[in-house]
Symmetry: C2
């Protein structure tokens, strides 16, 4: 944040800073938020994509998102949460920032668009609760395996690649996996969430031991039979154990 902005009578903003920025030719970018809505389905990390109905990238699939409502003084994360709600009907989920993509001025060929990308991790229940709102003009959405989603609109392929990396490197100390499973979960379910994000198998017997070192969990006196075999104990996530 450097210098000076003046607001003219019409509410048009001019820039006038100490380095003689030419305010008269001043143009602004558009700010959007994208929200990568993720779930785990059949041991694959999936993201909810929406089919574009207009050019550019007509009929291509894109990450959910939209414009930040500057008129209504909407916060960036609020906009991301609103988009999440509009697409899925889900509220009260933790939404995190991935990053801002605004290096290529032609990432949207129409105009300069700067997008700040957030992501939300849904439990199976939250993902299934997805509401098709009546009267909605039928935005077509679909879950895609995050790895196979190529040929997307804009730079959304790059964004999803970055998201995968971010989830993988953050899962050690951030409770990503806990958000992707049900509120009460089994060790198997949590381990499969880890395996999905890490892209490798973990040793089942060691898994509870290793998790308990970094996270505080509550082992309930409830059990759930998942087909044959001994029913598994249900677990509740309490909190992360801070490493500092």
């Amino acid at each position: 944040m450097s210098d000076e902005i003046k607001l003219s009578a019409e509410g048009k903003d001019l820039l006038e800073d100490a380095s003689n920025y030419d305010g008269s030719k001043y143009r602004k970018a558009l700010n959007t938020v994208d929200i990568c809505i993720c779930r785990i389905y059949e041991k694959k990390l999936q993201v909810l994509l929406v089919k574009r109905k207009y050019p550019p990238f007509k009929d291509k699939w894109a990450i959910c998102g939209g414009f930040v409502d500057i008129n209504k003084d909407e916060g960036m994360m609020d906009a991301a949460k609103r988009e999440l709600f509009e697409e899925t009907g889900v509220k009260g989920v933790s939404v995190r920032q991935l990053g801002t993509y605004g290096d290529d001025p032609k990432r949207d060929p129409r105009d300069r668009v700067i997008t700040t990308v957030y992501f939300a991790l849904l439990s199976p229940e939250q993902a299934d609760a997805q509401i098709i709102k009546p009267g909605d003009d039928a935005r077509e959405t679909k879950w895609f395996n995050i790895s196979k989603s190529s040929d997307l609109a804009f730079d959304h392929g790059i964004i999803l690649r970055d998201l995968k990396k971010h989830l993988r490197s953050g899962i050690q100390y951030e409770p990503f996996a806990f958000e992707l499973v049900s509120k009460k979960f089994t060790w198997l379910q949590l381990r499969e969430a880890y395996e999905t994000i890490l892209g490798k198998e973990l040793i089942a017997q060691n898994f509870p031991r290793d998790i308990k070192r970094r996270f505080l969990v509550e082992e309930l006196e409830e059990f759930k039979a998942e087909g044959r075999g001994k029913p598994a104990r249900l677990i509740n996530f309490k909190k992360a154990i801070s490493m500092f």
Copy 2:
């Protein structure tokens, strides 16, 4: 990124998406970049701040930054690098994104400003090379200990707190410390960079062993006497050893 933008004849952008966004009342935010220019000085992490010459926050200290030049199709990171160069004369330094701050619509009381924050880590040489450009209208800049910098303009105090956290948690696998020391450095210098960022002392004898696990370094046949005692071997950073 959801739907539709139309450009009118005058180049004024209208929004017209599938959810009946009211294009006529459409207003845009201003995009700025801030760059946290960091160095280590006397075992303290410092950031270069600039004294504001105009309201709001007149005479308060702020992180370096400025507007993204949308007219010139300037990329976000290019803008951050330009600001870095304008303040310090330094080029060719790796600049990373910290995050985007745009939740509070009143973070700039004049208008809606969304800022994307980057950071650069300078070696002592780069930090000292700081150029006061002639004909510059004397922007007053000064190095501050990052911890003690309170009462800053805007939400810059929060940003620096976030940066500290980001550096601390990332230093294990990202070569932050190597950028904060000279190209050829001693184990002591590198360890002090780690200690500064981590905020605790490390065991000197174990330090080379632990670094070599995560990073590839070249131990040179050059030595440098730093006062009395045995001259220390100079080291060269090669690359990080990927953990995946």
